[in-house]
């Protein structure tokens, strides 16, 4: 899901490109399960609506990833192999775990609302109400041993 980057975007074009790569690192596409990448479910817009102030910290950390890619590999972060991207992200995570945690928590919130993801885990993409769900009543013969044991409440 490609979104236009407007002039009032909290991320620069470079930051946004790294942001999408990091989301894909957090939850990559799984074609066998028909699950999209987290970079393809609108996480940017989700955070923009619900928690835009977190972009300050996210932007700083994206800059740090860019700087580490340049200093260690003399390349843009987006041009690194996935292996090197993972190494770089891991190094940042070891220095400060908050960035990846904050971004991951918001990413999974958004991810598990996506209709393709919901379908992949066996859920309809709708509100619980009004259709609801079916739960079977259960096999009450399983209670036979409890019944056979008899009263257990304490007489007074």
């Amino acid at each position: 899901m490609t979104q236009p980057i407007t002039s009032d975007s909290p991320l620069t074009a470079v930051q946004r490109a790294i942001f999408d790569v990091v989301l894909d690192q957090i939850i990559p596409e799984d074609p066998a399960r028909k699950k999209p990448s987290a970079a393809d479910v609108g996480v940017f817009e989700y955070i923009l609506v619900r928690n835009p102030e977190s972009f300050d910290e996210i932007g700083r950390q994206l800059d740090e990833l860019a700087a580490q890619a340049t200093s260690s590999h003399q390349k843009e972060y987006t041009e690194l192999t996935r292996e090197l991207q993972d190494d770089t992200l891991n190094r940042l995570h070891e220095q400060d775990s908050r960035f990846l945690l904050i971004l991951s928590l918001q990413a999974v919130e958004c991810y598990y609302l996506d209709s393709r993801v919901m379908a992949a885990i066996g859920l309809p993409a709708r509100a619980p109400y009004p259709e609801g769900f079916t739960v079977h009543r259960g096999d009450l013969s399983l209670l036979d041993p409890v019944r056979e044991r008899g009263r257990i409440w304490r007489r007074t």
């Binding site: 690192q25 957090i26 939850i27 990559p28 799984d30 399960r33 699950k35 619900r50 993972d86 990846l100 945690l101 991951s104 928590l105 999974v108 919130e109 991810y111 598990y112 609302l113 919901m118 885990i121 066996g122 859920l123 993409a125 709708r126 509100a127 619980p128 109400y129 009004p130 259709e131 609801g132 769900f133 079916t134 739960v135 079977h136 009543r137 259960g138 096999d139 009450l140 399983l142 209670l143 041993p145 409890v146 019944r147 044991r149 008899g150 009263r151 257990i152 409440w153 304490r154 007489r155 007074t156």
Partner: protein
Amino acid sequence: MPNDVVDVLIVGAGASGAAVAWSLAETRMRIVCLEQGDWMNPATYPSNFQDWEVHYGETSAISPNYRDRDADYPINDSESPIAIVNFNAVGGSTILYSAHFPRFHPSDFRVRTLDGVADDWPIDYFTLEPFFAENDRNMGVSGLHGDPAIPDHQPPLPHIPIGKMGETIGRGFNKLGWHWWPSDSAIITEPYEGRGQCLNLGPCNTGCAQGAKSSVDIAYWPVAQRMGVELRTNCRVNQITVDSNDMATGVEYWDAEGVLQHQRAEVVIVACNGVGTPRLLLHSKSGRFPNGIANRSGLVGKNLMLHPWGGASGLFEEPLESHFGPQGCCILSQEFYETDETRGYVRGYNLQITRGSPPIATARYGVASGAIPWGAAHHDEFEKRFDRSVHIGVCAEDLPEEHNRVVLDDELTDSNGIPAPRILYRTSENSMRMLAHGTKRSVEALEAAGAIEISPAPYPIRMAGWHLLGTARMGTDPERSVVNEWGRSHDVRNLFVVDGSVFVTSGGVNPTTTIQAVALYIADAMKQRLATLFD
């Protein structure tokens, strides 16, 4: 003429206030209820939305300090390991409760006689039995007849579906030879009294969009209003007023427009829960009652009981459809409810088996705990967890101790300047031993049921102070209790308390059905004595 003298003034429109209003309505007295919150709109409940899990955190927070709606008052619970949780609206905390509805046991009313601890109640289970049944009918309670852990009773509606998850845990209990049973639940499983049946939406504890969960704004208030009870919302009571004869004259309150009013009344009934009620009584100071109205015993606010909670979560290899169905209601076990001194503590606990986590909660918990990594392995690990989790909660009986109490905060106030309640509470050694025992038994039950990964919870769980009991206790001795055996203040003969504050002990189960049975019993006692109510 809103401030004419009314016959009965009820403060609080939650579980007990609604029940007592309904019961007294048949007298045709003029009854007014003041509620600081408003009516809830079920169309706004999270289960109306696909992103209900996100709405849950935003709109249905259980702590008033975090939620901070206009109707809420802050609570200073920084000196308690257990935070106070509640909801303020027509319906009170039943808006968010799980509707798990087990009754107290007969032994809960006789703990001094049976176990030599705390005090016996001045009433017993069998006194309350008809009021339990009446409340079951009014609320619409589902359950399965024949539970051998509780005296025989017949819930009016068929039991809640236990599903594959309930069967799985039930088999585990059977392996261990332990009691289990489908929970009595205040959730209607068939159309009932004009209400639609449960649709297994899942998040009952965010408010029920279907109206199948029996919150009292749905189950009691419409009937009480049709019978003539007047319910005034957005009205926050400041204090109960009293005359020179130690009789309550009414209450002072801010109306919906923020104007301070005085509502006069022949009878005042307080139904604000085990924290709100002592707060109001303690704040109602006068020359006759310098330490708060109805507090000559000095016991108002003391003996706070909270039900410390523990528990464990288990993951299973096979999908259990565990995130479907009423979140807090499936099965329970009362194997360890009664005292067995070989366990190292007295009294006991209920095991409440609750449904598994929905997708976002599964992912968030997994990510935060490190169990679900980032990268390609995310999908495998999520799949191992989603739809395969089961939770067992331990609801431990909390014995009364005077040092556990509600007092008025010196600095913190609500938006009207009324002092906030301050909670001074320590979890007792007996409770901690009980929680240790219950946590181990929860792990055993999950193992027996086939769980492949089990996570015991640290205890007491902080965000679990739902059950607010004991702070205006009932008794026959005015020096050792706040109200008499039918809820009337020993000190103020036209002042009644009908909520969980009057509980002498806490039992080891979710208390709402017992709170309501006590409220109906008190209302009945008042009706029986109308001609001599103040004697």
